[in-house]
C-alpha cells in the first residue's frame, strides 16, 4: 500500500517543470489555489483542467503513477460528489427514483466542487513530485524572507519543515521494518477481525515512537557537533536561480487568470 503513496514524494527527472525555480513553483501553486475559486461554469473549469493537465504532461511524471497514487483521494472526491447529489435541493429535478431525487443544482455543484478538489490536489502533487523537499523549503524560506524584519523565525520554520520532510521516507522504512518484525511474531495487520487489527497498531506505534525520539536526540547532537547555530550569517550551498522559464510560467498563469475573469458568469 505504502509503495504507491505519492504524497511528498519526489520523482527525479529532467523536465521543464523540474528545472523551474522552487519559488516560482510555490507562487504558481499559491496563485492557482486562489484562481480555482474564480471558475463557475463549464468554460472556466475546462480551462483549469486543460492548464493542469498541461502542467502534468510537462512534468514528465508517468500519468499512471500519479493517478494510481491518488486512489485514496478519489474515494474522498466521490464522497464529496455524493454529498452534493444527496443534500443540494435547488433547481429542477432531473432524475427521480421513489423518494430519491436528484436536482440540477446538486449535480452541477457535485461536479464542480469535486473537480475543484481534484485540481487542487493534482497541482500540489505536481509541485511535490517535481521539486526536491529541500528545494521546497529553500524556496519557502526565500519567499518568506521579508517576514524576518518582523522577527518572524523564518529560518527555523524552514528548517523544521525540511527535517520533517527529510524523515518521512525514513519513518516509512522504519514502519515497514517493524511491521515485518511483528508479523513474524504473529501479528496480522491486514486480515482478521477489526478489533484485532486496531490492537495490532500498538506493537507498531510504540517502537516507532521510541525510535523517533531517539533519532531526534541524535540529530540534535549531530547538528550541535557540527556547529549549527541558527540562520544568522548562514551561507547557502544551493543558490536559487530565477530564469526566463519561471517568468514565462507565471505569465501563463496570469493569462489563465484573465481568461477566467472574462469568461466567468
Amino acid at each position: 500500500m505504502m509503495e504507491k503513496m505519492i504524497f511528498g514524494r519526489y520523482v527525479p527527472a529532467d523536465s521543464v517543470i523540474h528545472r523551474m525555480d522552487p519559488r516560482s513553483k510555490l507562487l504558481i501553486v499559491l496563485l492557482f489555489v486562489c484562481v480555482v475559486f474564480l471558475a463557475n461554469n463549464a468554460i472556466t473549469y475546462g480551462a483549469l483542467v486543460v492548464y493542469t493537465l498541461l502542467m502534468l504532461a510537462m512534468s514528465k511524471v508517468p500519468m499512471r503513477f500519479v493517478f494510481g497514487g491518488l486512489k485514496l483521494v478519489f474515494i474522498l472526491i466521490i464522497f464529496t460528489f455524493l454529498m452534493h447529489i444527496f443534500l443540494t435541493r435547488e433547481g429542477p429535478v432531473i432524475f427521480e427514483l421513489g423518494w430519491f431525487k436528484v436536482y440540477e443544482e446538486g449535480l452541477r455543484q457535485g461536479i464542480f466542487i469535486s473537480l475543484r478538489f481534484f485540481l487542487l490536489i493534482l497541482i500540489t502533487s505536481i509541485l511535490t513530485l517535481t521539486t526536491a523537499p529541500i528545494a521546497i523549503t529553500d524556496g519557502l524560506e526565500s519567499l518568506l524572507g521579508p517576514l524576518k524584519k518582523l522577527k518572524f523565525p523564518v529560518h527555523e520554520l524552514a528548517l523544521m519543515m525540511s527535517i520533517a520532510l527529510r524523515f518521512i521516507p525514513t519513518l516509512m522504512e522504519e514502519t515497514d521494518k517493524i511491521m515485518k518484525a511483528q508479523s513474524a511474531r504473529g501479528v496480522e495487520f491486514s486480515s482478521g477481525p477489526v478489533k484485532d487489527r486496531v490492537m495490532a497498531i500498538i506493537p507498531l506505534l510504540i517502537p516507532l515512537f521510541v525510535s523517533s525520539f531517539k533519532r531526534a536526540e541524535e540529530l540534535a547532537t549531530a547538528m550541535e557537533a557540527r556547529g549549527y547555530r541558527g540562520g544568522d550569517g548562514r551561507t547557502r550551498y544551493r543558490k536559487l536561480v530565477w530564469s526566463g522559464i519561471d517568468t514565462l510560467m507565471l505569465l501563463l498563469l496570469l493569462a489563465l487568470t484573465i481568461l477566467l475573469i472574462i469568461f466567468r458568469t
Binding site: E3, K4, V11, V61, P62, R64, F65, G68, E174, K177, I178, K180, A181, Q182, S183, A184, R185, G186, V187, E188, S191, I202, P203, I206, P207, V210, S211
Partner: protein, 288 residues
C-alpha cells in the same frame, strides 16, 4: 521442515518509477536440519531472500515451498500464521521491536499470538530468558530500562519462545561486543543441534560462516553465485575478494605461510584448531 526456493524473482515497487529488481532466479534448497550461511556484499539481496522464507514477501516470479505450503505470485495467501510460527525471523537490530511494559510480556507476545495460553507462554519466557544468558529477575523490568546488549537478548528470547522449527537470523550479532557475539552464536548453534532446527544465518563474518555452517550460499548482484560447503567456498579466496567479500583470517594466514615457505598445506584449514594440527606436518615437509 524443508524449505526450497525455485527460480525466485522479486521486484520492489512494481509499476512505479521506483521499480527495482532485487533478486533474480534464486534457487536454494534448505533441507530440514541444515545450517546455511548466506553471505554477500551489502545490497546483494540477502535480506530480500530472507523475507521470502516465511512469506513476508511474495515472489514476483518463481515459487517458495515452505513445508507443505507453496507460495507463488498468483495465489492470494491466507492464514500465513501457521507458516510464521514454524519459521521465525530474528531481524537486524531486533531490539527495535520491543514494546511491552515488561520483558516477560514482550517475550510472551509471540507465543500468545500463535494461540499458546498465558501459563505456557510464561513458562516459555522463563526458559527462553535463561537460554539467552540473562537472569530471570529481568523478566519484571521494562525492556526500555535495559542496556543495548540485554535488549538484543530479550528480543531474541521473544523469538525463541515461539519454538520454531526453522530460525532465520539476519546479522544477529551486529553491534555487540566480542564476548556477547560468541555467546549468542554458540547459543544458536547449541539450539540448532539440540532441537534439530534448520538455521539460516545472514552474516558478514566469514569466521562465523566457516565455524557454524554446513552449507554456504554466496549472493552477488541479486543472484546466487555459488552454494557449497565452507571448504569448497573458502578454497578459492581470489574470487571472494573480487566480490567484495573476504575469507576467514585463518585461510589468509595459511596462504601467506604457503607463499613464504614455497609449499602447500595438505588441506585448507578453516579453524585455528585445524591449522594448529596441520602445522607440524607442514613445517616438517619444509625441512625435507
Amino acid at each position: 521442515m524443508d524449505i526450497s526456493l525455485k527460480n525466485v524473482e522479486y521486484r520492489y515497487q512494481v509499476n512505479t518509477p521506483f521499480e527495482r529488481l532485487a533478486i533474480q532466479d534464486v534457487s536454494i534448497d534448505i533441507p530440514s536440519g541444515t545450517f546455511l550461511a548466506l553471505i554477500g556484499h551489502t545490497g546483494s539481496g540477502k535480506s530480500t531472500v530472507l523475507q521470502h522464507l516465511n512469506a513476508l514477501l511474495k515472489p514476483t516470479a518463481g515459487e517458495v515451498v515452505i513445508g507443505e505450503r507453496t507460495i507463488t505470485s498468483e495465489k492470494k495467501q491466507k492464514d500465513l500464521k501457521a507458516v510464521r510460527q514454524k519459521v521465525a525471523i530474528v531481524f537486524q537490530f531486533p531490539e527495535h521491536q520491543l514494546f511491552e511494559e515488561t520483558v516477560e510480556k514482550d517475550i510472551c507476545f509471540g507465543p500468545m499470538n500463535f494461540g499458546v495460553n498465558e501459563e505456557e507462554a510464561k513458562r516459555r519466557a522463563h526458559e527462553a530468558i535463561k537460554q539467552v544468558g540473562l537472569d530471570e529477575s529481568i523478566l519484571q523490568k521494562s525492556p526500555f530500562d535495559l542496556s543495548g546488549g540485554q535488549m538484543r537478548r530479550v528480543a531474541i528470547a521473544g523469538v525463541l519462545a515461539m519454538q520454531p522449527n526453522v530460525i532465520v537470523l539476519d546479522e544477529p550479532t551486529a553491534g555487540l561486543d566480542p564476548r556477547g557475539r560468541k555467546e549468542i552464536m554458540d547459543m544458536f548453534y547449541q539450539l540448532h543441534k539440540e532441537r534439530n532446527l534448520s538455521t539460516i544465518l545472514v552474516t558478514h563474518s566469514m569466521e562465523d560462516a566457516s565455524r557454524y555452517a554446513d552449507k554456504i550460499a554466496i549472493m552477488h548482484k541479486g543472484q546466487v553465485y555459488k552454494v557449497g560447503t565452507p571448504l569448497e567456498i573458502f578454497s578459492d579466496p581470489e574470487q571472494l575478494i573480487e566480490m567484495g567479500l573476504d575469507v576467514p583470517e585463518v585461510v589468509k594466514f595459511q596462504q601467506k605461510l604457503e607463499k613464504t615457505f614455497g609449499h602447500k598445506f595438505a588441506k585448507t584449514c578453516l579453524t585455528i584448531e585445524e591449522i594448529s594440527q596441520e602445522m607440524p606436518r607442514f613445517l616438517k615437509r619444509g625441512e625435507a
